[in-house]
């Protein structure tokens, strides 16, 4: 489909960032309001899919020169690593820790190891969807 989708492409350029920022927001608020790594990851890949629809595979590869397989591996490493990290502190596998700290301006902030685990989920989800879409879409 080599049509000149000016409207789609221009909209995509703006909407892409809105979706991406929203996905990051969704990812971080996951612990308290709807969201989390899985949905955040899906949203991000949704944004990239939109990019793919508006442009084509080659352009997207140029814009996002990631190896998505590596992304999957990094994600898995994050998740399993968070779980295994608990072992060092003599608690069962996948026990999460959290703490609250006070930061000027931002106020009370809670830090969770669960976020790192979720980041792993996020990366895997983005990596998997993009790998599947790229390999199937790129197959001739």
């Amino acid at each position: 489909m080599k049509t000149n989708d000016v409207i789609l492409q221009t909209t995509t350029k703006i909407v892409l960032f809105i979706i991406l920022i929203f996905s990051v927001f969704i990812f971080f608020t996951g612990h308290y309001t709807p969201g989390g790594g899985f949905i955040g990851g899906l949203l991000t890949s949704g944004a990239i899919v939109l990019l793919l629809l508006a442009f084509d595979l080659k352009t997207v590869k140029k814009i996002l020169p990631f190896n998505f397989l590596h992304m999957i591996a990094t994600g898995l490493l994050f998740s399993i690593g968070t779980g295994a990290g608990a072992l060092i502190f003599n608690v069962p596998f996948l026990t999460h820790a959290f703490t609250h700290i006070d930061i000027p301006i931002l106020g009370d902030l809670s830090l969770h190891t669960a976020t790192i685990f979720d980041l792993g989920v996020f990366l895997v989800v983005v990596g998997v969807t993009m790998t599947i879409i790229q390999t199937i879409g790129g197959d001739e």
């Binding site: 989390g36 790594g37 949704g46 999957i72 999460h96 685990f117 989920v121």
Partner: protein, 799 residues
Amino acid sequence: MSLLHLAIISPFLLAIFIPILFKVFRRVHTGWFVLTLPVLLFSYFLSFISITSAQQTVTKSFAWIPSLGIDFTVKVDGLALLFALLITGIGSLVVLYSVYYLQKDKEQLNNFYVYLLLFMGAMLGVVLSDNLIVLYTFWEFTSFSSFLLIGYWYKREKSRYGAKKSMLITVFGGLSMLGGIILLYVMTGTFSISAIIQQSNELFTNHLFIPAMLCILLGAFTKSAQFPFHIWLPDAMEAPTPVSAYLHSATMVKAGIYLVARMSPVFAETALWVWLVAGVGIVTLFWGSFSAVKQTDLKGILAFSTISQLGMIMTLLGIGGAALHLDSINNSYYMVATVAAVFHLINHATFKGALFMVVGIVDHETGTRDIRKLGGLMPFMPITFTVAIIGTFSMAGLPPFNGFLSKEMFFTAMVRVLSMDILNMETIGILFPVIAWIASIFTFVYSMILVFKTFSGKFQPEKLKKKPHEAPIGMLIPPIVLASLVIAFGFFPNVLSNTIISPAVSAIMPDFAVDVHISFWHGFNTELYMTIGVIAIGFLLYKTYPKWREVYKIFPEKLSLNHLYDGALNKTEMVSRRITSSILTGSSRTYLLYLFIFFILILGSTLFIKDAFKFDTSNISNIHIAEVILAVGICIVAISILFVKSRLTSIILLGAVGYSVSLFFVIYRAPDLALTQLVIETISVALFLLCFYHLPKLKKREERISFKLTNALISVGVGALVILIGLSAHSNKLFDSIAHYYIENTYKEAAGKNMVNVILVDFRGLDTMFEITVLAIAAIGIFGLIKLRLKGGKKTENK
């Protein structure tokens, strides 16, 4: 997590960094980095000798899956320490040897050392863990790391064959061992070995006792290559020689011995145990030594020799177990067997390790291991020859080497079998010393063949691929160290008796006091006369070997166990191929048909046989008009898919169904689910559009009416069943809802307010972890299917 746990895990940790080290330090042989670890571990474990020799043990526990009683408990007692020292000690020497054996520019060293380290860690885990499930986990780890090591030169067909064979046989045994472990758990309610041993007095009346014992013995026998499972070991010799020296002489094959020794306090009170262990052991001893003589490959001789020696240790453990069984005679009378088993275990590791390395040197420097081509190497490699002499003479049981001492003790134990009074030992028992003696003669013969056919006789340079010369010094140091140990233990056996042997023996036989004293000269007695007989007859047989070689041709190849194994494997493959090709037709409709038919049959019949269907309207909430409209809408869209001609339209309609379902989630106030469903729907529709865009347009196809009818029948059936199951799931409330637990604990335990997400990352984090792993595997699978197929296609085009 203690230092001991870290010691077990450290090889795995190092293995992660090996590929990086291999890439970054290209000029340095990766083996040097690996070498530090076993050396450090060896010195660390040495520090435990002072503890175990005072008959103390060290136990460190670490909760793994406490709710299932699975804790990573590490226990160092005499037996575990002996093995840990063997693993790390021989491991250090083998790594040093491999640095010179494997050229860094020709071999995939990163793979090799990763496998080797995996194996080392797994082996340490097997011998040090006190929990049977942990032990089993590490046990299977040794199976598959040895599979990788045997198949290291995976381009050779024989390597792959050997690797597969060892894997099939040892994993078969491992699985049966898992069954035994579970039976033990059913009987005792614990996985802890120490706790099971404490309960052993009540165990043997249980009707599960014998099945558990048989299952565990099967695991031990397959791992330690006992008859008739020994057939994998000779084929495993396709691995690089350092691997053979390590896995197939010093460590992995001894895991079975370890298991039998470890489990002796639990099982040895029954006569069946004594009979099985000693019986299988002695058959293996004889068959191994008998078959070793006919081998022409040096490593083949050593492989069968290992089988035979493992059989010998097994026999000794079986007879030693009789000490627990018999109350009538003075029990310490049979303890000599256990002492001999432990002592021979050490000796075997030293001389067999040295011999494997010698064979590796010969192979490396001449290019062949065939004794028909070798000969007269003595002047070219004097140091190797010396080591070989020491090793083989110790193996043959000649004084003054350590093998002599343990073989004498072996004879002592065999002679004492005659006065044993279990079952009909008086009649069949006579076979034990006789078979042991005959097997020792064959041991003598193959030992002589091994050393003299290689190093003396006629030098045939035209048959060798390389011009022979002495090996580099780094390759010689490890066998020299082992050979010196052979001599040292021969002259000063009591260095070991109180430090290593007696703690190990008291770990095997916890209720007996042992006073181990090994004397070098034990006077003129039956054992010594037996040895003299072995030497005399053995020498005669060795000299006349060409004349009686024909004996081996009496057994036709068709009756051998190997033939049986190959035949069974071929048959299985053929039958499964036939079944597969008749079921897997390649049409996804057929597969869905199987799935759905089974779904309807099994779930549907269960629903009605178990009388599970119930329709309870008592706690149903009011139905809103909006919900009805939505439901009707979904139905209309779903049905209209059936009548759509274009693929793209049907995908979009399918998406519409998904979006409407997510509206239900919105109505029922599940924003998380709604969000997920919406995003998933969007992405999957985009994905399908992407794929289906390239496919040709649907054509009007006229199907037979029966075809359409089955389709309709099955789909209606599936739909009806899902509704029925949904209704009865709602009406049958067997348990209280778990929701309250999450409501109460989400904020308290995990400090989160979004329950769904907290469940995903925290309460059921393990599920999520495996889910993303599955996702990752699926992605890699799709990537592989599409990308690698393209690559393969191009390759064939080039041809």
